[in-house]
Amino acid sequence: MSATTGVRPGAAWRAVLAARTAPYRAVLASRVRAQRSYRTSFRLDLLGSALVGLVELAEVWVLFHSVGRIGGLDLAQVLLVFGLADLAFSVADLAFGHCDDLATMLRLGTLDVFYLRPQPLLLQLVTSDISLRRVARAAVAVAAVVAGLLVNDVPPTPRTVALLVVALLSGVAVSAAMFVLAAGIQFFVVDGAEMTNAFVYGGRYASTQPASVWSRPVKAAFVFVFPVAFAGYLPVVSLLGLTGSPWLPAWLGWCAPLAALWAWALALLAWRVGVRHYQGGGG
C-alpha cells in the first residue's frame, strides 16, 4: 500500500517465526536455567567434559608422536583433523546428545507426553534438552583448530574461510544426523541401544582419524553411509592441498554439504520408520 508498509512483511514474518519457536525456546531456556542453578555440579561437568576432549587429543598425540606420520598426515596436520571433527561432534552433542536417552524414554513411556503436545515429535525431542557442559569440550576442539591453522601456516584467504565454514556446518549437521539416526533405530532395539553407539561414538572416533588408513569396508561405511569423514579428514586434505588417497580425491572435501544432506535424509527416514513402528505398538 504505502511506503511505510514496505517493512511490514519482514516484521510480520519475524513475528510468526517468534510465535512458532516460542514453545521450543521456552523449554530450552528452562533447561539452561536448571543447569546453571546447580553451580558446583555444572562446574564439575564442565571440567569433566574438557578432560574428555583433552584425553582424546592425548591419544592422537601419543600415536603420532611414536611414528611421526600416519596415513599421509603428520602431527600438525592431524591436529586440524581432530579439532574440526571434534568441534563438529561437540556442538552436535550439545544440541542433540540427549537423543541417546530415547531408549530410556521408551522404556518408561515418557515419550507419550510428547504426543500430547501440538508440535512435531522430533522437534520436541531435540529441543527437550541441551547439554551446556559440552562447551568445554568444544573449547578444547577450538583450541586444536586454532593451533592447527597456525602450525600448518594456513593462509587466511577467502578460500580457507569458505572451506572451514562449509566443513564445520556440514560436520555439525552430519554428527547431529547420526544422533537422530540412532534415535530412529532405538524404536526397534530398545534393549540394544548400545548398537547405535557403533556409528554415533564409533563415528566420532572415526571422524578424528585420517580416513586414508581405513580398509575399503570401513571407508564405505564412514565416508559414504555414515559420512563422518566429511567432518575432519576430507576438508583438511582439501584445505592443506594434500594428495588424496584411493577412493578419496582431494576435492571431495568440498562435497561436505552433500554428505550432510544425505546424512539427514537417512536420519529422517529412520526417525519416520521408527515412529511408525512405535505407534504400531512397539511400546
Binding site: L44, V62, V67, V189, G192, E194, A198
Partner: protein, 268 residues
C-alpha cells in the same frame, strides 16, 4: 563360613544370569565392539606400517591380537566407573545392606564380577573370533600362556570391580560423587591402554600409567594372553595384578567400615 561361601557363589551366579537377561543388549555391544575394532585396525596397522613393520615391539600380528583381545575384554572390564552400589549409597538403601549378614563389599563385587564375566560369552569370545576371521592375529602355540592368560583376565575383571567399588564408596563422603566417576571414566580407558597400547606411550606417560591400577585391568591381561611378553615377565605381571587387587580390596574394606560408621553417626 562354608554357608557364606555358597551365598557368594549364588551372588556370582545371579550376576551372571542378570547379564544373560538382555541378549539384545549383548548383541548391541558386540556390534559396537566390532566397529571400534575395525577402526583400531585401520589406525594402528597404519602406525605399525609407518614404523617400518614394528612399533613399540608390536608387529601386525601382535597388534591385531592386542586390538581384538582388548575389544573382547571391553564388555567385561568396568571402565565406566558406575555400579549399582553407588546408587544404593546415594539414596541410602545401603543401610539395608549393612544389616544383612553379608559383607557389603564382597557381595557387591561378587555380583558385579558375575555380570561382567557373563559378557565374555556374547561379547568377548565373538569379538576375538571376528578378529581371527577378518584380520588374523598372532597367538601363542603352547598351552601355558593361555592358562596364565585366563588367570590374568579374571584378575583384570575382578580388579576393575574392586577399583570401581572404591569409586562407589567415595559417595559416603562426597555429595558430588559423580565427579569421581567421571574422572575414572575419562582416565581409565586411556591409562588401561584401550585406544593406544601402553608400550607406545612416551616414557614418562608410561610411568604415570604404571602408578595406577588401570594397566593391570586391560593391557596386562592382553599382553599375557597374547604371549607378547615371555612367561617369566607374564608371571611378574600377574604378581603386579595381585598386588593391586590386594591393595584395592583392603582399601575398600577400610572405607566401607568408615562409611558405615559415618552412616551410624549421621543416621543416614
Amino acid at each position: 563360613m562354608r554357608a557364606t561361601l555358597r551365598t557368594y557363589f549364588r551372588l556370582l551366579a545371579a550376576g551372571f544370569r542378570r547379564g544373560s537377561a538382555y541378549p539384545l543388549a549383548a548383541l548391541g555391544g558386540l556390534v559396537a565392539n566390532a566397529t571400534f575394532g575395525l577402526l583400531k585396525v585401520g589406525i594402528l596397522f597404519a602406525t605399525v606400517e609407518a614404523g617400518g613393520g614394528t612399533v613399540g615391539g608390536y608387529d601386525a600380528g601382535t597388534m591385531s591380537a592386542y586390538i581384538w583381545l582388548s575389544q573382547g575384554l571391553l564388555g567385561s572390564v568396568n571402565l565406566f566407573g558406575r555400579t549399582a552400589v553407588a546408587d544404593r549409597i546415594k539414596n541410602g538403601d545401603i543401610a539395608v545392606d549393612f544389616v544383612r549378614p553379608l559383607d557389603v563389599q564382597a557381595a557387591s563385587v561378587t555380583t558385579e564380577v558375575g555380570t561382567r564375566l557373563f559378557a565374555l560369552l556374547p561379547r568377548g569370545v565373538p569379538s576375538v573370533l571376528l578378529g581371527v576371521l577378518l584380520v588374523g592375529m598372532s597367538m601363542p602355540t603352547t598351552p601355558l600362556p593361555y592358562a596364565l592368560g585366563a588367570l590374568s583376565v579374571l584378575l583384570g575383571v575382578v580388579l576393575s570391580c574392586t577399583t570401581v567399588y572404591l569409586v562407589a564408596v567415595s559417595r559416603f563422603w562426597l555429595v558430588e560423587g559423580r565427579g569421581v566417576e567421571m574422572l575414572y571414566m575419562v582416565l581409565s580407558g586411556f591409562l588401561a591402554g584401550l585406544f593406544v597400547p601402553i608400550p607406545l606411550f612416551p616414557g614418562w606417560l608410561r610411568a604415570v600409567a604404571g602408578a595406577t591400577p588401570f594397566p593391570s585391568m586391560l593391557q596386562v591381561p592382553v599382553d599375557v594372553l597374547s604371549g607378547r611378553v615371555d612367561l617369566p615377565t607374564s608371571a611378574g605381571l600377574v604378581g603386579v595384578q595381585l598386588a593391586w587387587l590386594a591393595l584395592t580390596v583392603v582399601l575398600g574394606a577400610v572405607l566401607t567400615r568408615a562409611g558405615r560408621a559415618r552412616l551410624e553417626v549421621q543416621g543416614g
